[in-house]
């Protein structure tokens, strides 16, 4: 692909000057920005940056939400051969300091007062940072800081230069090559400093095209850009693929209006992490609870039908004529209006990625007729590694390798990837680069998984968390925990079993869901600890565990990981007690240590165990919770092959 982002921009501006490139809702009306107007804007910004002294190969920070003029700034920087570094707009000021220092940034473009304040705050520790421009002048009138100016002023100075040098942009763009560095994305490292992932025009555009071909995307697509542009997912969907395909990117009015804007725009190509789909579903369910009895009955009836036949219809499997008729009726009365309400009625292709999605959540959207699929990728691979083709969609796989991608599973279970979209390096960090890139071009994903019989990739866990049972079988704790957590009654789960004969689990009930369940059964309880130890609750959880076991038994590689024994914890795992990380991930090692008595009891065959735990309250005081926990056995199933 012998092209660069700025060349694509000039191409669109020449071929379809009057077509909309972006839209932004301003003053209640969607205002379109044409490719011609965008190119002119980019030219002025580029000229302004050139006059300010931005050099080829230099990094420039862009910090803010999805705003057309920030996109134009990234294009302007790339036109000059400089490298835009998008930073998260919701990051704290201290977090911005490292990327700015690391990349020797002299120039920054900020969206508004909030971002300017952060940049000014870190400036004392970033002596090189000399100029900051801002898009939205509100509240900044009385800032007398040196080097702070508005984007309008920058463009005005640029316009002057363009008048004197009409060929300025063309000349600069022609000097850029596909193998030049196009952008740098900082990954939020869970440990240590973030790492700058360096991508060239070639790597980003190759993957953008691969994804576009896979789903036959064209210039007619509509996309809503509402996730942080510093995240590579958003950047690929609303920047790289935008320029590759020439479709329209719509910028929401503000973060609070995204749902309204989504409905107004009706995107045809949509991308969101599972949590967004989850909150959408929750809002639907809450509103249905408040609806009248007739509507509620209709919704429940048709949703039951949709769950039964919807996914089959989407996958093109045979469905009986009567069911087809009923589904069509449901589409008219429930699914269609629901899709419209969610703003997803025009969606042709929707993707979710980033983390595992619950099968119920996933199939809900597919059932009501939305072509929701999964993909697999990371910042380092410019997103597209695996994608699910239409009609081959499953909740527990992430699809087949897309164009030019090779996949290999290492002996450790780690997935290795060879792709044209691979990062060049981690910026100024050869050790980290060497850790993930092998000499012959393979990239270590750090994920463990395997290709199933149909050639679909299945991710089971982070490679470093995968252990072995005593008999050598693979033990993927997060995979089991996720399966348990997908049940609404289970909030958290911790699986233990590394180096042991079999797997045991400790479970946290979801107080709200189980409390609700208990109330409907007239089951009295005094509080969390009491409810958790009710025999009926154990029965409820046992059903969940056994269903997970039945699922695991389907796969011979994972059949050994079935949960033999489990207990329900007497307290909720809490970040304040160090049991969860601040992003609510279980700290397995810490928990195994803290609850060593329980682990011993699980493996020692006991039926109950007394435990006393220190807890830290929100105001900093500590107290203790004690209880005698019951330990229950769960049925396990023979592996599928043995049963056949």
């Amino acid at each position: 692909m012998e092209t660069t982002f700025p060349r694509l921009l000039l191409g669109h501006a020449a071929d379809r000057p009057g077509a909309a490139a972006m839209r932004e809702k301003e003053y209640g009306i969607w205002q379109a920005l044409t490719w011609r107007a965008l190119a002119a804007m980019v030219e002025q910004i580029a000229a302004g940056l050139h006059l300010a002294g931005l050099r080829r190969g230099e990094h420039m920070v862009v910090m803010g939400a999805n705003r057309p003029r920030l996109y134009a700034t990234m294009l302007a920087a790339q036109s000059l051969g400089a490298i835009p570094v998008p930073l998260y707009q919701d990051a704290a000021a201290a977090e911005c300091a490292f990327p700015i220092q690391n990349a020797d940034v002299r120039f920054a473009m900020a969206e508004d007062q909030e971002q300017v304040d952060k940049l000014l705050e870190v400036r004392p520790s970033c002596p090189l940072l000399q100029a900051i421009w801002y898009d939205d002048p509100r509240g900044l009138r009385n800032y007398g800081e040196p080097g702070l100016a508005s984007l309008d002023a920058l463009m005005a100075s640029g316009a002057e230069h363009v008048r004197a040098h009409p060929d300025f942009l063309r000349t600069e763009v022609d000097a850029g090559q596909p193998d030049d560095v196009a952008a740098m994305f900082f990954t939020s490292g869970t440990t240590g400093q973030p790492k700058g992932v360096v991508h060239s025009h070639r790597t980003l555009l190759d993957r953008a095209h691969a994804g576009a071909e896979f789903d036959k995307l064209g210039p007619q697509e509509e996309v809503l850009a509402y996730l942080p542009p510093a995240w590579i997912g958003q950047n690929i969907f609303s920047y790289a693929q935008w320029l590759a395909c020439g479709y329209v990117v719509n910028c929401p009015e503000s973060a609070d209006t995204v749902m309204i804007d989504l409905k107004e725009i009706g995107p045809t190509y949509y991308f969101a992490p599972p949590r967004i789909f989850e909150s959408l579903l929750t809002s639907v369910m809450i509103r249905m609870e408040d609806a009248g009895a007739i509507k509620r009955r209709m919704f429940q009836g048709f949703m039951a039908l949709a769950r039964r036949v919807g996914p089959a219809l989407r996958d093109g499997e045979p469905v009986g004529a009567l069911d087809r008729f009923k589904y069509a009726l449901g589409d008219l009365m429930v699914y269609g209006p629901l899709r419209n309400n969610l703003g997803l009625s025009r969606v042709r292709v929707a993707y979710t990625a980033g983390e595992a999605i619950g099968p119920d959540l996933f199939s809900f959207y597919r059932a009501i007729g939305i072509n929701l699929k999964q993909l697999y990728g990371s910042t380092e691979t410019a997103v597209f590694v695996c994608m699910q083709p239409d009609h081959q969609v499953r909740a527990d796989t992430v699809g087949v390798p897309c164009r030019d991608v090779e996949i290999q599973v290492a002996d450790s279970g780690e997935i290795l990837v060879r792709t044209p979209g691979l990062l060049r390096e981690y910026y100024k960090n050869p050790e980290a680069t060497a850790e993930v890139k092998t000499a012959d071009g393979w990239y270590r994903t750090g994920d463990a998984g395997f290709l199933d019989a149909q050639g679909h990739l299945r991710i089971i866990d982070r490679a470093k968390d995968v252990g072995r049972l005593a008999d050598g079988a693979m033990f993927a704790p997060k995979y089991i925990e996720n399966k348990l957590k997908f049940f609404p009654h289970i909030k958290e789960a911790v699986a233990v079993g590394d180096g042991r004969g079999h797997v045991c689990a400790m479970v946290n009930i979801d107080f709200e869901a189980v409390g609700n369940w208990a109330e409907r059964r007239n089951l009295p309880y005094a509080g969390y600890t009491d409810l958790a130890q009710k025999p009926q609750v154990y029965e409820l959880i046992r059903e969940c565990v056994e269903q997970v076991n039945a699922d695991l038994a389907q796969d011979e590689r994972l059949a050994g990981s079935q949960v033999h024994r489990f207990l329900v914890l007497h307290k909720e795992l809490d970040a304040d007690d160090g049991e969860l990380t601040r992003t609510n991930k279980v700290r397995r090692g810490f928990i195994a240590e803290k609850y060593a008595v329980l682990v011993d009891a699980l493996y020692g065959g006991r039926t109950e165990q007394f435990i006393e735990t220190q807890v830290r309250f929100e105001d900093g005081r500590t107290g203790s919770v004690s209880a005698t926990l019951r330990i229950a056995d769960a049925r396990t199933f023979p592996p599928l092959r043995a049963a056949a």
Binding site: G18, A20, R23, E24, E26, Y27, G28, I29, W30, Q31, A32, L33, T34, A37, L38, A40, M41, Q44, P68, R69, D135, D136, P137, R138, G139, R141, N142, L151, D152, M155, E253, S254, D256, T257, I260
Partner: protein
Amino acid sequence: MTTTTLPVPGIVPPGPAPATADAIPAATERQLGGVILDVRNISLAFGGVKALTDISFDVREHEIRAIIGPNGAGKSSMLNCINGVYQPQQGTISLRGQNFRHMKSRQVAELGVARTFQNLALFKGMSVLDNIMTGRNLRMRSNILLQALRIGPAEREEIRHREAVERIIDFLEIQPWRKTPVGQLPYGLQKRVDLGRALAMEPQVLLLDEPMAGMNLEEKQDMCRFILDVNDEFGTTVVLIEHDMGVVMDISDRVVVLDYGRKIGDGTPDEVRRNPDVIKAYLGTSH
């Protein structure tokens, strides 16, 4: 889909208004000007009840001026006098040197004085947008018939007013509720809409009657920011009544203190804070 006819940069950023008529006045540097509103020896009585006795103070241009005092001190009465709702028995009020003791509230509004209300007086069944639009009423030129039929200049005018209203919606960050009936909004947001409607008049002087009453801390902080922004961006002079001493002291340039209808203090927040009469009125004294 609308294709823009705007010149490059294509999208007008919020902020300094373009030179369209009726747009929000261009921003000015924040520096206090001369006296814009002068209140001299005002006395107001309802029958035998003296609400205000011989009150005098002035408000300078671009200033944030607070009127504080305990319950029943006469704060709202004072505002109603300035606003033309009450006619004081004695004294004069002048705006930019123009005396308006005997003016009606409409005339006062035409002079560029807008206000918000302690107990909201919004149209509950109408949307946020329409409520703010009512604030443009004074600036509508075409008659009701033309407006109803949307003919002639009426449509152009409507578009212009709608744009001004949208700028206010943007300014107050209430875009998500643009089309929501006001009655469905939480109280703090209704207060913001009330402020928006007053701003729609493009007032020179903005009278705010307890803008922070009944709000939680976060809503108060938001409202403070909007008041400061209005003052800063549009150069609007603000006269506000407030109960919450903390808020007043933080954002006002000068403060008038009333108690039982009399002025007991006047000066910068620091001066007022040290004034023994004010301390007595607020905290009481031991006898």
